[in-house]
């Protein structure tokens, strides 16, 4: 141990990083593995304690099955474990810490009541293979949530199995495939807009299809003519998020839908942006046949640093029979809910059990606390906040496309290039002003993209402050771009070297 002044955090390092790093220079934050001392323990478990035991462990588990050397896990006290992860948590941004305007991610407030109810033993303590009779409350919750989500999307039935949006996409595409195959209609391509989220093409490939991109037109919308050109009897369907990734509503959606349907394809709705239209317009009414939702976006379940989510997949009546088995069924006679496994046309199971039930409980709590009027207000204010912010920063960061946006918009920082400033510099500098940056360099179709989604739970004051900061940063870029290049200065680390991370790969700790 040394207590040299280098121990004190460099200026701008948060206090907690100094708390965490008594020992090593320049406030390196130690790993829990580096705090290990042989013989220390946090664990507290009972003795095996079997009366007149059943022979020794060696008899029960012969040596050939046994581990030869113990796993290299740290040995720490519970006190040090708690200190480590508490300080570590303080080195992380979160919705509960401040604004999080990440485009396409819908980082809205996650109600605390949802956490409380999800922890009830009657939900958290349920075994997934318990007899249906034991879990009627859980099944009723799921049934009510299914009905509400189908109502909101204009679909007939859904499955809760997909653990996230991407898994919902694959599920939907496999259903698309099953539908065509059931009609002995072999098709090989699925169309996606060039602005589509990466999971769309990736899911298309996984579903055994080829992804074909259609360009956006100058409006940032699907180019109808270009679409018509690529549509033929080899096209299984079109994947679309509406509003699209640019935050623009595909106003030609009905023409798009009929064009796709006429060519014998199906329309897939990527629900990641559902937040901006819930209660206002339903995918089903726009002509979509298949819809996934990201409950961890529109329905405010916490994102957990990258997950868990929940990506229920809903379909129109004609596709119902293909849904993954089992589906919920109500027995009028016994007045009981049960899982119906007898689904001959099902594409099969997509999750180990029933999907991320705990997340669905939270989404249900959110849905029930808002009700129909509340949900519509969500869409209204998500769109209001986005357009308001867009108006406030329009001069510094013009949007790539004209006209009103929906819940998010894509600005460009290319105007700052002449000062040698990139979108990433703007993002990093924004951190110093106390905001999480927007999504940068996505979608790829926009140069120096800043994709901003304030969400409806941010107040006017927050958006005013965010706009003031962005405008100020634009001014700094012109007058003193190095401020931006040096940013951020208020964080525990600054501009970690990602290239080096990939070059000298270190993906786990091991003692030097």
């Amino acid at each position: 141990m040394n207590g040299s002044p280098k121990d004190t955090p460099a200026p701008g390092r948060p206090l907690e990083s100094s708390a965490g790093t008594r020992s090593s220079p320049r406030a390196v934050f130690p790993l829990i593995f580096e705090q290990s001392r042989a013989g220390r323990r946090a664990w507290s478990l009972p003795e095996p304690g079997v009366p007149n035991g059943d022979g020794s462990l060696d008899e029960l588990v012969p040596k050939e099955y046994r581990r030869t050397s113990p796993p290299q896990l740290p040995e720490v006290s519970e006190r040090d474990l708690v200190g480590h992860y508490t300080r570590l948590s303080q080195r992380n941004w979160a919705i509960d810490v401040g604004a999080y305007p990440l485009g396409s991610c819908t980082m809205k407030y996650n109600p605390k009541i949802a956490e409380e109810v999800a922890a009830l033993k009657g939900f958290a303590g349920l075994h997934p293979l318990a007899d249906d009779e034991l879990v009627q409350g859980a099944l009723e919750l799921l049934a009510t949530l299914e009905q509400a989500l189908c109502t909101a999307t204009g679909m007939a039935r859904l499955t809760f199995q997909p653990a996230a949006g991407a898994q919902g996409e694959l599920t939907g595409l496999l259903i698309m495939r099953a539908w065509h195959e059931a009609r002995n209609d072999k098709r090989r391509r699925v169309i996606i807009p060039d602005s589509a989220h990466g999971t769309n093409p990736a899911s298309v490939t996984l579903a055994g299809y080829q992804a074909q991109e259609v360009p956006s037109d100058r409006r940032g919308l699907v180019d109808l003519d270009a679409l018509r050109d690529v549509l033929d009897e080899d096209v299984a369907g079109l994947m679309l998020t509406n509003p699209n990734t640019l935050g623009l509503f595909e106003r030609d959606i009905q023409e798009i839908a009929s064009a796709v349907h006429e060519s014998g394809g199906l329309l897939y709705y990527d629900g990641a942006n559902f937040n901006s239209i819930v209660g206002v317009v339903r995918p089903g009414d726009m002509g979509f046949d298949i819809v996934h939702m990201n409950l961890h976006k529109t329905f405010a379940t916490p994102h957990g640093g990258g997950g868990p989510g929940s990506g229920p997949l809903a379909v129109s009546e004609k596709l119902e029979r293909f849904l993954p088995a089992p589906v919920l069924a109500y027995d009028e006679v016994t007045q009981r809910w049960r899982w119906d496994e007898d689904r001959p046309d099902s594409i099969g199971r997509i999750h180990s059990f029933h999907g991320n039930f705990g997340i669905n409980v939270r989404a249900y709590a959110y849905l029930r606390s808002l009700g129909p009027e509340g949900l519509r207000k969500v869409a209204e204010h998500a769109v209001l906040n986005a357009n308001y912010l867009r108006a406030l920063i329009g001069e510094s960061f013009p949007t790539a496309y004209e006209g009103m946006c929906m819940h998010e918009f894509v600005s460009t920082a290319k105007g700052l290039k002449k000062h040698g400033v990139r979108a990433m510099d703007v993002a990093k500098r924004l951190i110093d002003f106390g905001y999480h940056p927007p999504t940068v360099y996505f979608p790829l179709v926009v140069e120096e993209a800043l994709m901003i989604e304030p969400t409806e739970t941010e107040s006017k004051e927050t958006i005013d402050g965010l706009a003031a900061a962005l405008n100020e940063i634009a001014r700094e870029a012109a007058e003193d771009p190095d401020i931006l290049h040096a940013a951020p200065v208020t964080t525990p680390v600054r501009r970690p070297d990602e290239a080096r991370a990939a070059r000298n790969l270190r993906v786990r700790w091991h003692p030097e």
Binding site: R26, W43, S44, L45, P48, G53, V61, R67, T68, P71, L73, E78, Y85, W93, I95, V97, L102, C105, N110, F123, L126, L129, D131, E133, L141, T151, A163, A164, A166, Q167, G198, A202, A207, F249, Q254, G279, D285, H296, G305, P308, I347, S352, H354, R368, S369, P372, E373, K377, H381, L384, H436, T457, R494, P496, E498, R500, A501, A502, V507, R508
Partner: protein, 446 residues
């Protein structure tokens, strides 16, 4: 409660700033004939106290609220340490997004790096990812990795691999022209891997402990696989790795498993967390996110998401996987739980499971008409055969306060009188005795 901050005055001022009259004007871009002019037909809003009552009532309908859980089959009633629960639920972890901005995400990134290190340690391998959806998904991604690597299109999976995992594998691969063969189990409830034909297989999937709770000769599976040029995928229960040989030691190319037992409640089967680890040579084929170490502009050790070129948001249609959102929060909990246990605690955990499961085998196996269907060795689960149809028996025991099963008939015709019985460190010998007495009563009633 809609959680909106907007006052009427805010609405007015903001609408004015964007040059609109009313909130409805915001949606003018949407064709009017599809716009809703009525509220959605969904249940009305509830205030927080009403919501709490409503959900407590639904949760209260869990007919076995103070029941004892002896149920197995992939999800288990393990003890969640209070410290792990408290730390993993810290708002800074729970309400953060994917760590795309490392300066604001060192907490999640380092926690994931520590999780990856712990998973490598228990599985005896070199690289782990930041989690997948669940055990089934991990198997799927492992198979995809193996098939991509070997350029083959055939999979051999043991019949003793969790049937749901095999079903999900079937679903995922159906569209890709992959052939999934099943290797049967023998009288011992294990696969005789020396006897399995693996010609042309690119991936071999074995599980130990397997779906019957028995330990399998994983070494035989991996060497047979390698002999035929296939990659060996081993499904391993992480709670067993303190006591049992690690998949890595036994020659696995990829180790996968369900991590629910490490720090997460059963939650009706989700959210859990899919564990995935492999050798460094496969790192560029690994699905999903990986946290990696680097240095920052000042040379300070830091963590970032690395090798993102594998992922869908960069490689799109040619990505290693379509996974984006994963199970990070549960991965963090699992990592903290493994650090809470350490090598000694993890070993003790296994010891308690094994010894008490053996005790349960003795108590239940000697009841009239009952036997332990497969000899084992068992880890924390066993297959109990009784004279009564298993699903009925499970239902009847539920009436006596025991959640148990499932009956194996749903997965194996020939085992319709067999019931899974799982014994974790939370089940005491007294509780096992009580289960024995309850079962005895049911048997008496026939």
């Amino acid at each position: 409660m809609d959680f909106l901050p907007h006052t009427e005055e805010d609405d007015r001022a903001m609408l004015e700033a964007v040059g609109l009259e009313s909130l409805a004007d915001l949606f003018e871009g949407i064709p009017s004939d599809v716009r809703l002019d009525y509220p959605l037909g969904i249940p009305p809003a509830l205030s927080e106290p009403e919501l709490l009552d409503h959900l407590a009532a639904l949760a209260g309908r869990f007919a076995a609220d103070d029941s004892l859980c002896f149920a197995g089959g992939g999800v288990y009633d393990h003890h969640v340490p209070a410290a792990v629960r408290a730390l993993a639920s810290r708002a800074e972890f729970a309400t953060s997004y994917t760590p795309y901005q490392p300066e604001l995400s060192q907490g999640v990134l380092q926690a994931l790096f520590e999780f990856q290190t712990a998973v490598c340690a228990i599985y005896g391998l070199e690289v782990a990812n930041a989690s997948l959806y669940d055990g089934a998904h991990s198997v799927v991604e492992a198979v995809n990795l193996a098939l991509r690597t070997t350029g083959r299109a055939r999979v051999v999976a043991g019949a003793t691999v969790h049937p749901h995992y095999r079903q999900v594998l079937q679903t995922y691969t159906s569209a890709l022209g992959v052939e999934v063969l099943t290797a049967p189990y023998d009288a011992a409830g294990t696969v005789d891997w020396t006897a399995v034909d693996m010609t042309g297989a690119g991936a071999v999937v074995a599980a130990s402990p397997n779906v019957f709770g028995c330990l399998e000769d994983v070494g035989a599976a991996t060497s047979a696989a390698h002999a035929d040029g296939a990659l060996a995928i081993v499904v391993s229960d992480p709670t067993s790795t303190g006591l049992l040989a690690s998949p890595g030691e036994l020659g696995a190319d990829v180790a996968v498993g369900e991590g629910q037992g490490l720090g997460s409640p059963m939650a009706y089967g989700g959210p859990g967390v899919g564990l995935f680890a492999t050798g460094l040579e496969h790192v560029r084929q690994v699905p999903g996110r990986i946290a990696g170490e680097t240095v920052d502009a000042d040379g300070l050790r830091s963590y970032v998401l690395t090798l993102q070129a594998r992922e869908q948001h960069i490689r799109r249609a040619r990505a290693a996987s379509n996974v984006c959102t994963n199970q990070t929060l549960l991965a963090i909990a699992a990592g903290i739980h493994l650090c809470w246990l350490g090598p000694e605690g993890l070993r003790r955990l296994g010891e308690v499971c094994v010894t008490r499961t053996a005790y349960a085998a003795r108590v239940l196996g000697r009841l009239p008409g009952c036997r332990i269907r497969f000899p084992g060795p068992h880890f924390k689960e066993l297959t109990l055969e009784t004279p009564i149809a298993a699903d009925d028996l499970a239902r009847r025991l539920a009436g006596r306060g025991f959640v148990i099963g499932p009956g194996l008939g749903r997965w194996f015709e020939d085992l319709s009188n067999c019931l899974l019985v799982a014994v974790t460190e939370r089940r005491t010998t007294q509780q096992i005795d009580a289960l024995g007495e309850a079962l005895e009563k049911e048997l008496a009633e026939g």
